[in-house]
Symmetry: C2
Subunit: 322 residues, 2 copies
């Protein structure tokens, strides 16, 4: 069987330099964020900027629409880029916009980012009131279209309810287990088990805030966490969703956090330094070494570094009806 390397969440400022690292890390597919807080029209501007990047770097990247595009990427030595939203703002209050976005190639959408959305509750709210009326309709429509429901930033109740309501397996594209690094943004055993039992998948994050010991996190420690996670939910429901934000300016961090929902304070806060063993997409090679040295077989390592995501995408990107 062919092995695929897939990252289920990146927000990189792409340039010749960062694109070159995609090759070094042998990435066949990456899910990229095209909207955090943008409305419909502003997200269209993200799409036209992406189309310009695709034209300029046609030898390195192209837009992925189906799992077959991952195979096509592998065969041509390029990377298939799949679009996704971290917040449902691009559908505004119009469920009909989901089909428009699906046609434009959007394959992932989070039901909520950090705060309450029209669909569900984010993990930073004091109360999680679960999936809203519109949220229930949106879950059905995403199921119909073949758009992956992503719960990375959702609160626990919203997450568990969505897993229950969704007719198709959902994803948590970028987060880590709470048992390893107990912050609210990481996921409880209960969520992880419900996710795996429903056929869903978790992308493990390399973002320092989600890691034990942050930027100083050791690769061996990360790999021990993976081993413990395999004991909890099995090997088939684990992938990578690095949350890599390479070369982004501090202003991107402020936009992600504050959008337009509050008056942003002028802070000096910037993105944290990445662990030495995951500075950019070359980190996939370090991860492969680390997992092998920690006792994972070649097949197990390949599953974690992309084959599990490939299998999941192959099923999840197909519409339920045509």
């Amino acid at each position: 069987m062919t092995d695929y390397r897939i990252d289920a969440l990146q927000f990189v400022n792409w340039s010749e330099k960062s694109l070159e690292k995609l090759r070094v890390g042998k990435l066949d597919a990456v899910h990229v964020t095209v909207a955090y807080h943008e409305n419909f029209r502003k997200t269209i501007d993200s799409i036209t900027e992406w189309n310009s990047l695709f034209r300029k770097h046609a030898d390195r990247i192209f837009q992925g629409l189906t799992a077959e595009d991952i195979e096509k990427a592998k065969q041509s030595g390029r990377t298939a880029i799949f679009f996704g939203f971290q917040n449902p703002t691009p559908i505004e209050d119009d469920i009909g916009l989901l089909e428009v976005w699906h046609r434009l190639g959007v394959r992932f959408m989070q039901l909520s980012y950090n705060n309450q959305s029209l669909l569900a509750t984010g993990y930073k709210e004091h109360d999680d009131t679960g999936v809203t009326n519109m949220g229930r309709e949106v879950i059905k429509e995403m199921n119909r279209l073949g758009m992956v429901i992503d719960l990375s930033h959702s609160g626990e109740r919203s997450t568990l309810e969505t897993i229950e309501l969704s007719g198709r397996p959902v994803a948590i594209t970028h987060a880590n287990p709470e048992f390893w690094h107990p912050i609210k943004r990481n996921k409880s055993d209960k969520v992880l088990k419900a996710l795996a039992e429903s056929g869903g998948i978790l992308g493990l994050s390399l973002y320092p805030f989600h890691l034990k010991d942050g930027s100083s996190c050791e690769l061996t420690d990360f790999c021990s966490m993976v081993a413990r996670l395999v004991d909890l939910i099995g090997i088939d429901h684990i992938g990578i969703g690095s949350d890599l934000c390479q070369d982004q300016p501090a202003s991107a961090l402020h936009w992600m956090r504050n959008g337009r929902w509050k008056f942003s304070e002028n802070t000096d806060e910037d993105f944290p330094a990445m662990p030495s063993w995951f500075p950019d997409n070359s980190g996939f090679n370090f991860l492969a070494d680390g997992l092998n040295k920690s006792g994972f077989s070649g097949e197990e390592t390949a599953k974690i570094l992309g084959n599990n995501w490939y299998r999941y995408m192959k099923h999840s990107f197909l519409p339920n009806e045509r």
Copy 2:
């Protein structure tokens, strides 16, 4: 060879009644107008309304994206609906929006409606200054994407320049020869010959304003015109683009004419009555009879009623590069 029936321009208010006529007329494909003067965001609302129609009437219509969808329509006894713009307003001043619209299935765009646009001049302006700087870029991008350049409402100079500039055959989806009914909206021999020589195609209009004797136009007279046109440009460059506006309210006519470019006068003007032999899509059966009785062979009639458009679409909907 299979025969296809195709109408290259309709703006029908769709209902069970008008959809039923599509079956009676055995239409395999229809190009429908989804924007006259709408900007990008408002045209998206037209698309979501169309998607609702497709869901509601999945047994009768579906969105066509490729010429293969015309075959699929024939095989399943349905009609493939292809989207088009009569004015370039949905791309605003952003050439990048063409690729977005192409991905959303838009397959036709007029460079100008009645007035001056950012791209070219409409037939109602006093001076036609030809294709603009942006127009030249848009022609190249439409050629690349596989979006048909439609010149139905453009002025003569803009039309001739576009035929010259375009790397792929263009279309006049709905108009008649000036030699038969001499109004400025119909096309001169010079335009018709240049169109045919470049491999383009003309859709003959059944809209009373474009017909000799208007609503009282005789079918035999229409068919004599077709015979004379065949003598002028050959049989392979002629199809139908009826401009059927069945069941539209008068407000639609006012929107088409006035958009937001002038303060609309309160008139009682309504759509003109259609000729008795083309009241709706059942008119395709009358046309078939009329052409046969006028001496056209079965093969020639089939070319005019759809096979020519099918051949044209098969080439024109393919991108120049992928």
